[in-house]
Structures are given as structure tokens and as C-alpha cells.
């Protein structure tokens, strides 16, 4: 069942990439949206929509990171930190931890704002750094944030985190135990993220990002305020992650520091690399593919293998190997990803003489 949904979504994405007719594209997008909104009434169960809702959160995260890495060309290896900040915003302000029970909807916006603020705070001193140095600084930040959440036991519950988070309500109706509200909110979130991404890409700011990505020095001399454009990318990208964090925490009803480690940041980078950095549709496909492999395909192969050979192999052990192989394989053989962005592809294929380091 889950494959039906994933297949429809991915097929629609590929179709959107192939068609060049604007009206055809719009039609496909509307059809896909209608299908994803209506089909759950007839087809599927809670387990399926739970996976799909998680997948949708990852799509949002990937779209946010795409603004930083794909559009502006800044490799952020600590993106999970903003995810943690969003999740802990909900965890601390909508739980018995402090007896605060702020509404879910307000916290979505607060988390986005807080994540953006931290993005800007991290970015302000560090964005002057180039390429791989920036990557390492963000990695350090990504290590520090969960560690701080883990150490401040008094406020954050320490290594155990905070449990029994509030169940959100919608005009007085509790979400209850159903996963459907999260699925629909995440779908809406993706739609908004897609719309924002697309408009940003075509905006003045988006063109500035592209110029910086291709040649920072030239962009600077063409009058682009490089630092401010990069800061905007960091803050906007982080805000997506903050919203994703609230959704994730509310659905799981739990936050703990080990959910936001380096693996999460690398997982999201792998989604971008697989799909094609910079290409919005490609990023959606990459994140769908990886989530489906992680949460549906691997467990199923696992149980098939176990049934066939009477073993108890644990294929969930192979996640790192899979992400690693994707990063290496794609970089060596198809650096533009499965569904490439045209400009990015051009950059990657004659990079030898390119001056831009990032």
C-alpha cells in the first residue's frame, strides 16, 4: 500500500520534470494533491499513514536544507540542530515539563521563528567561511546543540528527554491517537514549502543565491550583499526544520537528544544528493525514496530474509552503509543526482576551471 502512494508521488514528480508545458505541470500537481488528499479515505491504514506522515516531515526538512545547500551552495552538516530546536520548543512548552501547554498551532510559528533566529545567530559569524570550513563549523554546532539539550537535565529532561507531550487540538477537537491529522498537516506543509521554495528560487534573492553558489567573488563584485543573502538562506532553511521539529515531536509525543544526532543531518544531505541538489522536485523524490527504503523496504526485506532462512538478521544495521553508499556512488557517477537541476548539472560537469569553491 505504501508503495502505491510512494509510486504515485514519485511518478508524478518525474512527469513534472519531463513535461515542459506549464499547464500540464499544473494539472499533474493538482491531480497529485487531490489524490493524496482523498485516497486515504478509501485505501490504507494507520501504519501506512504514519510512515507517510514521517516521510512528509522529511520532505519538508529536505526542502529546507535544499535552500541552504542546493540554492545557496552552503554545505550545512548540522541541520538536525534546528530540527532539535523545533522539537524541543514543542517539548518544553507543550508538556508537563513546566506545566506549560501552549497551543500546537502557535508553537509551529514560534519554532519556525526560533530556528530561524538560531540559524542567523550561527550564520552571522560563520558564513564568511568557505566551503568545507563552513561544513565543519555547522557540524560542530550540530554536535553541540543536542549535547546541551542532554546536559541541561533540569530543563530538558536530560538523556531521557521529555515524554507525554500534549496532543494537539484543532478548534477544540483533539487529534487523539489518529495519525491522519499529522499526515494532512505535513502535506499542507510540503505544499507551502514547495510554493515558498519555487517563489524564492525565482526571486531576486534566489538569483543572488545562484550567483553566490556559482562564483562568490564575482557575485560580490556584481553588487550582491553576499553575507546577507547567505544569512537569509540559513534562516529560511532553518525555519522549515523548526516546523518539521514541532510536527515530529507532537506526533511522537516525545523528544530526546539522541533523535537529532549527526546521522540525521547526513540522512537529509543524502536525500538531497540522491535527488539532485538544487532541484525542488528532485529533492522531493530523493527524500521519498530514502524514507520508503528506511521505514518500509528494509523492514520488509528483513522479514522476508528471516522467514526464508529462519534467521534473525537485523537489516536496520545497514542504514549507515546505505546512506554512505548513496553519497559516494552519486558523487562519483552522477553528481547532479537522479533528477538534476539544469544549472547545477552544468556546474558539476565543468567544474575544473570553476572559480567558486563552494
Amino acid at each position: 500500500m505504501i508503495y502505491t502512494y510512494a509510486f504515485v508521488a514519485i511518478a508524478a514528480c518525474v512527469a513534472i520534470e519531463r513535461f515542459h508545458n506549464r499547464r500540464a505541470k499544473t494539472t499533474i500537481v493538482l491531480l497529485l494533491a487531490a489524490f493524496l488528499a482523498i485516497a486515504p479515505r478509501f485505501y490504507g491504514n494507520d501504519a501506512v499513514f504514519s510512515v507517510l506522515a514521517d516521510a512528509a516531515v522529511y520532505v519538508m526538512l529536505a526542502l529546507g536544507l535544499n535552500i541552504v545547500v542546493g540554492f545557496a551552495g552552503l554545505l550545512d552538516l548540522g541541520y538536525a540542530a534546528f530540527f532539535a530546536i523545533g522539537a524541543y520548543t514543542y517539548g518544553m512548552l507543550a508538556s508537563p515539563q513546566f506545566g506549560l501547554h501552549l497551543p500546537f498551532w502557535a508553537l509551529l510559528f514560534l519554532a519556525a521563528a526560533l530556528a530561524a533566529l538560531f540559524g542567523a545567530l550561527l550564520g552571522a559569524p560563520t558564513l564568511r567561511l568557505h566551503g568545507d570550513y563552513l561544513a565543519i563549523v555547522t557540524l560542530g554546532f550540530g554536535e553541540i546543540v543536542p549535547q546541551i539539550f542532554q546536559n541541561l537535565t533540569k530543563y530538558t529532561g536530560g538523556p531521557n528527554g521529555i515524554a507525554a507531550l500534549d496532543v494537539p487540538t484543532f478548534f477544540g477537537h483533539s487529534f487523539g491517537a489518529s495519525v491522519m491529522p499529522y499526515y494532512y498537516i505535513a502535506l499542507f506543509g510540503i505544499a507551502a514549502a514547495l510554493w515558498i521554495s519555487r517563489n524564492l528560487r525565482e526571486s531576486r534573492l534566489g538569483r543572488a543565491w545562484m550567483a553566490i553558489r556559482e562564483d562568490e567573488l564575482a557575485a560580490k563584485h556584481a553588487g550582491i550583499d553576499v553575507l546577507r543573502s547567505k544569512l537569509a538562506a540559513f534562516a529560511i532553511g532553518a525555519s522549515f526544520s523548526g516546523i518539521g521539529g514541532v510536527l515530529f515531536a507532537a506526533k511522537l509525543a516525545l523528544v530526546s537528544p539522541d533523535l537529532f544526532g549527526f546521522q540525521v543531518s547526513v540522512l537529509i544531505v543524502s536525500m538531497l544528493v540522491l535527488g539532485g541538489m538544487g532541484n525542488i522536485v528532485g529533492v522531493v523524490v530523493g527524500s521519498l525514496l530514502l524514507t520508503i527504503v528506511n521505514s518500509a523496504l528494509l523492514p520488509q526485506i528483513n522479514s522476508l530474509v528471516d522467514a526464508a532462512f529462519h534467521t534473525t538478521v537485523d537489516l536496520s544495521n545497514l542504514h549507515f552503509l546505505i546512506y554512505g553508499a548513496i553519497l559516494v556512488g552519486i558523487m562519483l557517477f552522477r553528481p547532479e543526482g537522479l533528477l538534476p537541476n539544469r544549472e547545477r548539472r552544468a556546474e558539476l560537469h565543468h567544474a575544473g576551471e570553476a572559480a567558486g569553491d563552494a
Binding site: 561544513a135 565543519i136 546512506y323 554512505g324 553508499a325 559516494v328 553528481p335
Partner: protein, 303 residues
């Protein structure tokens, strides 16, 4: 005072290990401008190879008297060879094709290699730390208020001997000269007849060998090996390399000892759970305020 000196000795011991790993980052960065993200895992691999040899020899019952010295030497040499070959293999298979790609491509590849190695080592050795055979006798020696173990002395002495050997290799030998030439200007080096591919491969061999020594002394010092050791140790060592000035060999050694001290004293004074935060804060502060490090020179932006 007593505790202070003990932490000092501890910091020097940690620092010696970080310095050895940091040298590997710095050598590779110096020649390719690549952060070899997998370097920490090459160190872990060396640690497990030494562990395997020692466990095997102990089971065979040869680890006493002269056999002990030979056994330790065998484990050390095996770790060096294994790590060197692994590192050079990674360069050949994963990085060489990307030498002309934009700089982020090899970095992303290196992260991928690191994840693969961690997973493979986990599949090979399990996800729990494995105890490292306690082969070096460890009586405590007293120098006034300072108390150090023989193991600590062996670890630091081995590390320093390795660094001295590296220094002479890089400064005096023909290959070392070729390495410095390629690091300065790859095209010019190739014009004067230096085989650039071979020189880079040798740099990776040497960096891997240093990681092998570190893997052995790290196993002895920490008393265990774990598949994720390389991630934390690698980041600390990288911080050390950056602190000293990346690409600068003396800087990597200095940085290693400073980071070792920082970890040891932050663990003592503010608690082990904050030592990560302290180390990474230093990394961020150095990169922001003095990206060229303590001993590095500021390079103009390349156009």
C-alpha cells in the same frame, strides 16, 4: 596539585593520540585541500586490527618475555600497514576521480566513505565496545607529586618518536620534498617531473600509517575499541589540526596536545558531559576568529 598533575599527564597522553590523528588530516589537507572525513574511521580500523592480532597471540599463549615485545611490535606493525593500505585504497577508489570536481563533492564523498566504514566495522566487530588486551604492564611511577603509569609513558613516547620520524621524512627525504612540492603547486610539481598521483597516494599511505599508530596507542590508552570511536576522536583531531593551522605539521602536533589538555581539564573542572561542547566551541571560535590557526599563514583567496 596532585590532581592537577594527574590531569596534566592525562592531557599529554590524550594529546599525543590526537596529534597523531591530526597529522593525518593535516597532511592530506595540505596536499589536496580535502578534509578526509573518513580518517577517524581509518584510526578505528587500525585499533581493531591491533586488537585482533593481540587477542590471537594471547590465545596462542606467546605473549610473555621476548614474545611479548615481538607480539606488541607485530600488532603495531599490522595496524600501521592495515590503516595505511585502507587510507590509500580510499584515495584510489573514492577521491582520485573527484580531484577536479568542485570542492564539496570530495567532502561529501568522504562523509559517505566514513559512514560506510563505520557500518562495516560495526558489522565486523559488533556495536558494543570491545576490550583491548591489556598487554603492556602498567606499574605506577612517582616523580615527586606526579604519578604516571608505564603505559602512559609508552603511549607518549611512541607518539613522539613517530612524529620525529615524520618530521625527518617530510623535511629530509626525496619523497618528503616531493610531497611539499605537490602541496605548494601541483601543476608546477608535475612540470618538474614529480609523479603527482604517486605522491598523493604516498601521502595517504603515510597519513594512514599515522592513524594506525594512533589506533594502537589509542587502544592501549582507552582499554577498548569501538566502531564509533573514530567519529569523536576524528573530530577532536580535526579541531586540533585546525587549531594549529591546517596543513602545518608542527601546528597539528601543537593543536593535538592543546586539545588533549582542553579535554582532560574540562572533564576535570566542568564534567565529562561538557567536554564535547568545550572542544567544538573551540573549533567554531578558531574558525571564526583565526581560520589560519595558531601557526598557519593567512592565504589570499584564490581566484
Amino acid at each position: 596539585m596532585h590532581e592537577f598533575l594527574a590531569q596534566l599527564a592525562n592531557g599529554v597522553e590524550l594529546g599525543a593520540i590526537y596529534a597523531l590523528i591530526a597529522l593525518g588530516y593535516t597532511l592530506v589537507y595540505g596536499i589536496l585541500e580535502l578534509i578526509n572525513f573518513a580518517h577517524g574511521d581509518v584510526y578505528t580500523f587500525g585499533s581493531f586490527v591491533a586488537l585482533g592480532i593481540l587477542v590471537g597471540l594471547r590465545a596462542a599463549g606467546v605473549l610473555h618475555g621476548a614474545g611479548l615485545i615481538l607480539g606488541i611490535a607485530a600488532a603495531l606493525i599490522a595496524a600501521i600497514l592495515a590503516s595505511a593500505l585502507l587510507n590509500a585504497g580510499i584515495e584510489r577508489l573514492a577521491y582520485r576521480r573527484l580531484r577536479k570536481a568542485p570542492r564539496l563533492a570530495p567532502l561529501i564523498t568522504a562523509i559517505g566513505v566514513s559512514f560506510m566504514l563505520e557500518n562495516l566495522i560495526e558489522l565486523w566487530q559488533g556495536s558494543a565496545p570491545v576490550p583491548f588486551p591489556n598487554v603492556i604492564p602498567n606499574p605506577q611511577l612517582h616523580f615527586g607529586a606526579l604519578e604516571v603509569g608505564v603505559q602512559q609513558i609508552v603511549v607518549v613516547a611512541l607518539a613522539i618518536a613517530t612524529m620525529i620520524a615524520l618530521h625527518f621524512f617530510v623535511q629530509r627525504s626525496k619523497l618528503g620534498k616531493a610531497m611539499r612540492a605537490v602541496a605548494q603547486d601541483r601543476d608546477a610539481a608535475s612540470l618538474v617531473g614529480i609523479n603527482v598521483d604517486r605522491t598523493i597516494a604516498i601521502t595517504f599511505l603515510i597519513a594512514g600509517a599515522l592513524a594506525g599508530v594512533a589506533g594502537f596507542v589509542g587502544g592501549v590508552s582507552f582499554g577498548s575499541a569501538w566502531f564509533l570511536n573514530g567519529f569523536g576522536a576524528g573530530l577532536r583531531a580535526f579541531t586540533a589540526a585546525v587549531l594549529g593551522g591546517i596543513g602545518n605539521i608542527a601546528g597539528a602536533m601543537l593543536g593535538g596536545f592543546l586539545i588533549g589538555m582542553l579535554e582532560s581539564f574540562s572533564t576535570w573542572l566542568i564534567g565529562g558531559q561538557w567536554s564535547n561542547v568545550a572542544v567544538f566551541s573551540v573549533l567554531i571560535l578558531v574558525l571564526v576568529f583565526r581560520p589560519s590557526g595558531l601557526l598557519g599563514e593567512t592565504l589570499p583567496e584564490k581566484v
